[in-house]
Structure formats: structure tokens, C-alpha cells
């Protein structure tokens, strides 16, 4: 098991939280209701905090002196390793919450497994993060249920969001060489083994939300491998990295 694979794996964890945290932070000040402004800021805050831990460890393991900030602020899109789901645009509030719930449900299962990682640093980060994410998924699940089983319009919008985002679920569970190496080394779980729990969790929330999971297992891929992100990530980075790019070497 090479450090390179571990580095890749940690970038996946950290880029997921970085990119999704950024997306959520785009809602600042314009949520549908004040309580949501607060809750979304809180979620973004947790995700950015987790990013600091994952990318910090990634930089340490890489051993080239790169900090979490270096990794976040100076890699171009092709070096990002987040799943495609995380970088999808916010759309309306329903689409944002559907994206959040689908990610949270995977994230919770993943972090729970990672608390049993044979790498204690990984296990410790997971143990901290899992407490926050347990709360995230409860909230996003409740919102999906509330809006799915709300008015005709809210139901329609939530079904559209589910239809749009479902093809991005598969990537989170389809292992590649990095995932295989992690599983073999006991650092991370076998992703395929997380799927049944996810399906039953998501299935029951969607049932309560009166929403229908699309009958397709087509999966967009290319985010976590970095081979082919969507066009959205590059635009996000123009903002996220602006200051560090424009004023390199400054300290903030």
C-alpha cells in the first residue's frame, strides 16, 4: 500500500467536503427562511472544518510540505478528487437539499466505517466528523421528507431534483484501484459493502417523502479519479482560489 494511494484517498475525503462546503456556502444570506440560513452556514462550517483535517493529513502524508490551504487553493480542477455529486450546482433549495441528503447518507456510512480504520489518524478524524454528519443527515433527510411530502409544487421539484442527481450516486460506491488499495490495507471500507445500508436508508426516506427513486443504475464517473470533472468545478475554483492566485505568497 503506497502513500500515493493514501494521499489520493485523503484528497477524495477532503475535496468532497471542501467542494460541497463551498457550494453550501453560496447560499449565504439568501436561503428561503432565516433558520435555513443558519443551518446551511452551520453545515458549510462543519464541512470546511473537516476539510482542514483531511487535507492537512493528506499534505502530511504526501511529505512535500503542502498544507491543507496549499492543496485547497493552488491545485487546478484536474487535481481535485471530489465525487461529481459534490460539485453539482445548487439549483433551487430543493436540489441543494437533495444533493446534501444523498451525500450525507453516503458520508455517514463512510465515516462510520472509517472510525474503525487501522490508521489511527484516519479513525480519529472520522470520529470527530461522524458526530457532525449524523446531524447533517438527520436534517437533510427531514427536509427532503418535508418538501417531498409537502405541496404539489414542492413534491414536483423534489422529484425533479432526485431524478437529476440520482445518476451521481453510483460514483460514490464504485471502487477503483485507490479504493481497492485502501480496503486491502484496512484503511477504508470496501465501498460496495456500504451500498446496502445506503439503499435502505435512502429508500425509507424517499418513501416517507413520497418520492420515487429512478429505475436506472447509470452512474456518471470521473470526479474522484479526476479524469473528467464537470464544467462547474472550474468555475467554482476561479472564485475559491482567486486571492491566493492573485497574490501568491501573501499571508492572510
Amino acid at each position: 500500500m503506497s502513500d500515493k494511494a493514501t494521499f489520493e484517498f485523503l484528497c477524495r475525503m477532503g475535496d468532497n467536503t471542501l467542494v460541497l462546503g463551498h457550494r453550501v456556502s453560496e447560499w449565504c444570506g439568501v436561503a428561503p427562511v432565516l433558520e435555513e440560513d443558519i443551518a446551511l452556514a452551520n453545515t458549510a462550517l462543519d464541512l470546511i472544518g473537516q476539510t482542514q483535517m483531511w487535507l492537512g493529513l493528506a499534505g502530511e502524508i504526501e511529505g512535500r510540505g503542502r498544507t491543507a490551504d496549499d492543496l485547497a487553493m493552488t491545485r487546478d480542477a484536474w487535481d481535485f478528487r471530489n465525487v461529481l455529486l459534490a460539485e453539482q450546482p445548487n439549483g433551487d433549495f430543493g436540489q441543494t437539499m437533495m444533493r446534501q441528503f444523498l451525500f450525507d447518507a453516503w458520508h455517514l456510512a463512510m465515516l462510520q466505517a472509517l472510525t474503525r480504520s487501522c490508521d489511527t489518524r484516519v479513525a480519529e478524524i472520522a470520529a470527530k466528523a461522524v458526530k457532525e454528519v449524523r446531524y447533517h443527515v438527520e436534517r437533510s433527510g427531514d427536509t427532503v421528507i418535508g418538501l417531498g411530502d409537502g405541496t404539489e409544487e414542492s413534491h414536483r421539484r423534489m422529484q425533479a431534483a432526485l431524478d437529476l442527481l440520482w445518476p451521481y450516486v453510483g460514483e460514490m460506491f464504485i471502487p477503483d484501484a485507490v479504493d481497492d488499495a485502501m480496503a486491502e490495507a484496512g484503511i477504508a471500507p470496501d465501498l460496495t459493502e456500504l451500498r446496502a445500508g445506503f439503499d435502505s436508508h435512502v429508500g425509507s426516506v424517499m418513501e416517507a417523502a413520497t418520492l420515487t427513486i429512478p429505475d436506472t443504475d447509470f452512474a456518471h464517473k470521473g470526479g474522484k479519479s479526476g479524469f473528467r470533472h464537470s464544467e462547474h468545478l472550474g468555475h467554482m475554483l476561479t472564485q475559491m482560489q482567486w486571492l491566493q492566485r492573485a497574490y501568491p505568497g501573501a499571508s492572510w
Partner: protein, 311 residues
């Protein structure tokens, strides 16, 4: 009117007025206006800082800024709750904000143009806000006073964070220093305006002070702000954009130039650099969120009626 006299005596004695107590209509009306404007300021105040959340230079700075904006939304919530105890709902107040009938602090009609503005907003804008708010912890209306206690604690934290950003910038590269000075240049006079025009020109002042919903004159607070801020600017190595600024030994404070009050009244009238955008952003958020609020309400009603049916 003996009721009014008794009310004024309670206030003079330093008693707190509570929601169920009798109060003059004018007291209620003035409080609703003042608390509502303050709440709206917290809400609209999210926007100029939100403008830089997606461009924060480090993960740490992004987290700090997110936490700050989250606090502001929380302050809005406390204040709307305090206003609700006076018999006006959050939705009513929101509609009045969105229609332009109610105001918010005019400072938020200025744009945030560089990262140093995140420092200047914390240092100067929150600094001026605290100057206004600290005395309001002793205001006569109980729910308002208690909300201010919570708010002031967090605001002074924000102010220190803002000053910390300015410090980093002022000690940074030449470009960062220039950003810091530029931010001070743009925010100095708008910050002085936050205390309002001289009390001589202010309509509501005398009665509000008697009722203890205003604790100091605008000019007193402005002077205090200048006296506190000038040494901080000097410590940062920045120049306050006022050539007339000078220490006055006699009054034990600084002499300083008045802001351009015609600009202030322009901003109040809706002609500030960002008035249109700020209101448009809040209106869009409210309109876009209608289906969400309705959806969640419909779901809550379904659940409630299911629960009743099951009992």
C-alpha cells in the same frame, strides 16, 4: 394621563418593561421600528460579507467568516423574537423590509470590494454597532435588553476578528497594505454616518431618550467611536482619511470632519451604491423560497392532522 406618568416613573426607576405590561402606543411603535430595523440590518448585513465567503483566502478565514455570518442570522432571529413580543410577526416585518417601507442600516448599502473590507467591516462597522448597542443592554424594554446582552458578546468577538484581519493586511505585502488603507478610506465616513445625523436634526431623539430606548446622543457616540478608533488606526500604521483630524486637549477627544450628510440622505433615499441590489437580493430570496415555506408548512399540517387522527 396617570398611566403614562406611572409608566415613565417605572422607567426612571430603572425597572424593565415586560411584554404584558401596559405601555404607551408611541413606545410600542418606536420600539417596533427600532428593533425591526436592527433585525433587518442583521439580515441584510449578511450580504456584503457573503460576497466574500466564496473568495476567502484560507480555509480558516472562510470558517471564521461563515461563523460570523451565521451569528448575524442568529442575531436577526433574537431580534425578530423580541419584536414579536410587541405584537408584530416576523413575516409582517419582513414584508415591510422587502417593500422598502422599513429601513436597515445604511452602511450595508456600501459594497465590499477587497478582502480588507472583511477586516474593515468587522473593525469599523461592528465597532460602531457595538458603540450603539452596549448602552442598549440597559434599555427599558426587557426582551430587547436581554437580546442585546447576547448580541453584544458576539459582536465584540467579531470586532476583534475584523481587527485581526486588518492587522494581517497592514503587516503584509505592499498590495495588502494598500488594500487595508483603501478599505479604511472607503469605510471611514460611512461608519461615522452609522450614528445618524447630529441629534439637533433628529426627530425621535428626545422622547426615545426619556423612554430609555435610546441611551446616548448620536454625537456622543460618534465622538466615542472616533476616540477609540483613531489610535487603533495608528497602531495599524494606517491613515484616517481626514486631514482635519486632530487631538483636542480641552475636550479630551479628537476634532474630526463631519461626513458628507448629503451622501447619507442620498443613501437613505435609496441612492446608495448597493440599495437596489441589496433589496433585490432579499426579495429574490423571499420569492424563490415561497414554495419551500409552503411545502414545509403543508407537511407540518399533514403530520399534525395524522397525529390527531391517531389519538
Amino acid at each position: 394621563e396617570p398611566q403614562e406618568r406611572a409608566f415613565q416613573e417605572r422607567i426612571n426607576a430603572g425597572e424593565k418593561i415586560e411584554p404584558k405590561d401596559w405601555m404607551p402606543a408611541g413606545y410600542r411603535k418606536n420600539l417596533i421600528r427600532q428593533i425591526g430595523q436592527h433585525a433587518h440590518s442583521e439580515i441584510v448585513g449578511q450580504l456584503p460579507e457573503g460576497n466574500w465567503i466564496t473568495r476567502a483566502p484560507t480555509l480558516e478565514r472562510k470558517a471564521i467568516l461563515l461563523a460570523k455570518v451565521q451569528d448575524e442570522a442568529g442575531h436577526g432571529l433574537y431580534l425578530y423574537c423580541a419584536a414579536e413580543t410587541l405584537g408584530v410577526s416576523r413575516d409582517e416585518l419582513t414584508e415591510d423590509l422587502l417593500s422598502g417601507k422599513m429601513k436597515y442600516s445604511s452602511i450595508f448599502n456600501y459594497p465590499t470590494l477587497t478582502w480588507a473590507d472583511m477586516g474593515a467591516v468587522g473593525w469599523l462597522v461592528d465597532g460602531a454597532a457595538i458603540m450603539n448597542q452596549v448602552p442598549l443592554q440597559r434599555t427599558s424594554y426587557g426582551p430587547y435588553a436581554r437580546a442585546m446582552v447576547r448580541i453584544c458578546k458576539e459582536e465584540s468577538f467579531h470586532q476583534r476578528q475584523g481587527y485581526d484581519i486588518m492587522m494581517k493586511m497592514a503587516q503584509g505585502t505592499p498590495a495588502q497594505k494598500r488594500m487595508a488603507q483603501d478599505a479604511l478610506n472607503r469605510f471611514w465616513y460611512p461608519s461615522l454616518m452609522m450614528f445618524g445625523p447630529s441629534d439637533a436634526d433628529s426627530v425621535h431623539s428626545a422622547q426615545s431618550m426619556a423612554w430609555k430606548i435610546k441611551m446616548n446622543t448620536n454625537d456622543e457616540l460618534r465622538q466615542k467611536f472616533v476616540d477609540q478608533t483613531v489610535p487603533q488606526a495608528e497602531y495599524l500604521g494606517l491613515t484616517v482619511p481626514d486631514e482635519t483630524l486632530e487631538w483636542n486637549d480641552d475636550k479630551g477627544g479628537y476634532d474630526f470632519a463631519e461626513p458628507d450628510w448629503s451622501e447619507f440622505f442620498d443613501v437613505i433615499k435609496g441612492n446608495g451604491p448597493c440599495n437596489v441590489e441589496r433589496l433585490a437580493a432579499r426579495n429574490k430570496a423571499w420569492d424563490d423560497g415561497k414554495w419551500v415555506r409552503e411545502g414545509l408548512l403543508a407537511h407540518a399540517e399533514k403530520r399534525a392532522s395524522k397525529k390527531v387522527a391517531a389519538e
